[in-house]
Symmetry: C2
Subunit: 205 residues, 2 copies
DNA sequence: GTCCGGAACTATACAGCGGCAAGTTACCAC
DNA sequence: GTGGTAACTTGCCGCTGTATAGTTCCGGAC
């Protein structure tokens, strides 16, 4: 395939490189032309596969929702429960920062894309089932809707703050010493619906 | 001042219009040139006041941190407590959506700007004091650092999800009927550190 | 009153960008 | 070998941010 004229696997290569660039410089720093130059193809080659710049971002978001849904489903099948679903959510954001950023920034996307809509619906369904698993854990709360919002908000907020560096720049991260993010997630989200373990001794207070 | 040549109050006008555009089309749909055209000045006029496109966004972010700190301080002076500090945070995001978006997206900003740093430090100090007011409420939690992260994350996550429209598009908003956002905030964040009120009857379950 | 300096703009130029239309290459089926 | 099609390239357009040089206007010094 890769014969000097045809790249052979351009679609996948574009998505991979786009994710790298967005991770480094944010969605605004991502340009189709410099991306094409990086891959050694003409500046309109990506357009053939994605139609537009927005098309690349849509593809990334779709990939992201699919991956997130997969991970949440695996956790559900393993009876991971609410807290571990939260860890899965935050871990996903750290593993796929560019995808996560694009997924939740609708101004970057074409909302009418059916593929995107379907992937998002599937992911949201898994997400809600994660919070609803609280009932199975015998920790059901009186205010169901509030529990869904609280559960989603706390992990989404934590993921967003960690990803954008605001956890570090605010000094909040220092409070935890060198505790890793999954542990921080468990301890913080654990405050939501039940008693939490006391913090270890090796931390700043 | 406004003599046909000199605008007279261009700096403020640029910030106001920039906030409008970003609110409508997101931070990536905002262009200096179209903004200058809207205001009837040459396309380099904004550059005189802000140096660059980034400079406009930095000014917006600085304004935002200052406003947020002010609101949080007023709540603290009024002994509003943790939950109302959370409502203040979410309300701020709704009242100043463009500012909020830019404030927490570092890839849009020049982090070395001293004015921005100072405003952010002041706002974060107020923020932490909001969570720490939990102790005064006699609802102190064993895990202090986790409480700070949990408190901030839940309101930041809720504000972000509401602002980006993800609360609506996910169907989560429907669970609350036409309940307003401050109430949703109180009920959700209220699950964090204490018992919550049961939901009213007029909601979907 | 006029001279001068600085603040607040405009004019012009340039490279990089996304999108579009038309042309090119390589393969594959027949 | 011929036709068709998928995967590209080339050339162009208007828009964008940035840089530099020039213009307008106000205010104070004298």
């Amino acid at each position: 395939m890769a014969d000097g004229y045809h790249h052979g696997n351009l679609r996948a290569a574009v998505l991979e490189r786009a994710a790298e660039v967005i991770t480094e410089k944010g969605p605004y720093g991502f340009s189709l032309r410099s991306l094409a130059a990086d891959l050694g193809v003409s500046h309109t080659a990506p357009r053939y596969h994605f139609g537009s710049r927005e098309g690349v971002l849509n593809a990334l978001a779709t990939e992201g929702f699919t991956e997130l849904a997969d991970r949440l489903r695996i956790n559900r099948d393993a009876r991971g429960g609410f807290l571990e679903a939260g860890v899965v959510y935050v871990d996903f954001a750290i593993d796929f920062p560019a995808h996560f950023t694009v997924m939740f920034e609708p101004s970057l996307l074409d909302q009418d894309d059916p593929g995107l809509r379907a992937a998002r619906v599937a992911a949201f369904a898994e997400l809600r089932s994660g919070v609803e698993s609280l009932a199975e854990e015998g920790r059901g709360v009186a205010d169901g809707p509030a529990a869904v919002v609280a559960g989603w908000s706390i992990v989404h907020g934590l993921a967003t703050l960690a990803l954008t560096g605001n956890l570090d720049v605010s000094g909040v991260r220092e409070l935890f010493g060198d505790t890793d993010l999954p542990t921080i997630t468990r301890r913080s989200a654990g405050l939501l619906f039940g008693p939490s373990d006391p913090p270890p001794d090796n931390e700043v207070e």
